[in-house]
Amino acid sequence: MTNRKIGFIKRIIQDFYLVIILVFLYAPIATMGVLSFNSSKSRTQWGGFTMNWYTDLFSSSTIMTALYNTLLIAFLSSLIAVIIGTAAAVAINSMDRVPRSILMGITNIPMLNADIVTGISLMLAFIAFGISLGFQTILIAHITFNIPYVILSVMPKLKQTDKSTYEAAMDLGATSVSAFFNVVFPDILPGVLSGFLLAFTMSLDDFIITHFTRGAGINTLSTLIYSEVRRGIKPSMYALSTIIFIAVLVLLLITNFAPKRKK
């Protein structure tokens, strides 16, 4: 066989492998999309096409409240994590080796620790501190596991920035605050944004830590779904997930395939 033929076969095998993995990743998501149009409540029988679950969704106050809680917690926790985390990253970047590695070690704890241990330990702490379990404890917990994602996204960008531009701004009479926001911040902005997006995603997808740190009477989408598992999930939940998924997919496709602006 010629080299060209081998290369062709190799490419076919590679494409086949990629497709298999994609099917594996997206089969459950497609399943939910199909179930959201299934007029039978059963998860295994097709009862005909319906849009009822989508209209039901918007009139279900439990789902809408849980959605509101989920989005609010995800937004607030990522925002606060971005502020605390970016400040910490700037500080850590200017430190010597030893304190820097101690702080990065602490940063790694929530990332490497098991969610169940983080969740339980936070629950014990909230009870010991006398903070009643509810919206505020979920928020604190989410900020806690979000900060490391922000730091890890911002740090590489900070390392790339040139220290002398900041010093030049200071020499030209800028205060350290304005030098930071006018000179350093634009350079690290992509890291800050991807940290925010990552934190938002993680907060949205979290179940285990929320499960332990929420009190009775407040639900996020995850905990609502978990409480419905035994009784059977309302198909409106599939409808909601499908809407969220399509919205994010469209958003990502637009940002990825939009013509790149010239620098």
Binding site: R43, A87, I116, D205, F207, V229
Partner: protein, 270 residues
Amino acid sequence: MNKKLLSGPYLMWMIGFIIIPLALIVLYGVTDRSGSFTLANIISITTEEHAKALWLSLLLSFVSTALCLILAYPLAMILRSRGIGQGSFIVFIFILPMWMNFLLRTLAWQTLLERNGVINGVLSTLRLPSLNLINTPGAIILGMVYNFLPFMVLPIYNVLMKIDDNVVNAARDLGANSFQVLIRILLPLSIPGVVSGITMVFVPALTTFVISNLLGGSKILLIGNVIEQEFTKGSNWNLGSGLSLVLMVFILISMALIAKYDKNGEGTAF
């Protein structure tokens, strides 16, 4: 203004919500309900029920970690060979499913695996015998691989992308074939990503209680289920904390591995 002061809020936050909570778990783990010192909570891991749960968790998480590695490494290699242009898009492909709730994604596997579910439906139209898929250890492994595969792919992909093409070309110029390039060049250089991928899959797989709950039925108990029940149903927090301390031994081992093989943090997933 001293820049280091900026880490103040962060330090206070981490001490308040990471260090102190972990200390509390240790405190609960080595005391009984009345607050006096005891090792009984930790030693209870040796009782038959708990030891069986821990052993099964170790076994299932080991198998799923191995499967993730076997699936992810070739995948990362293919993604590398396709060049950098598609890079960020590939990452999105793996992050995107996370926007659909983790519980729902796992529940969807229930629909696929059930006795009269989608997979068995396809088998029966092909006139093949139906398979008993749901509520088996195999279903739990599938759930683990499905949920944690991105955490293996992304670190390996990130490390492989950083390897200079010239290094590979140099090896080829010196007469290495594809297999030798893989074994002598790519594999050793990608160890930080592999190690970080292994720990990022092994730890959540070892400690999960949700996947075993949804795909394993109520009969298969993993160590995560035992701990969760102590905190929600059994309300013996001391015992639950003691068992968590046992789990933390494995977590500490993975942290040590990361520190040893991934000193510069090259193998991060994101």
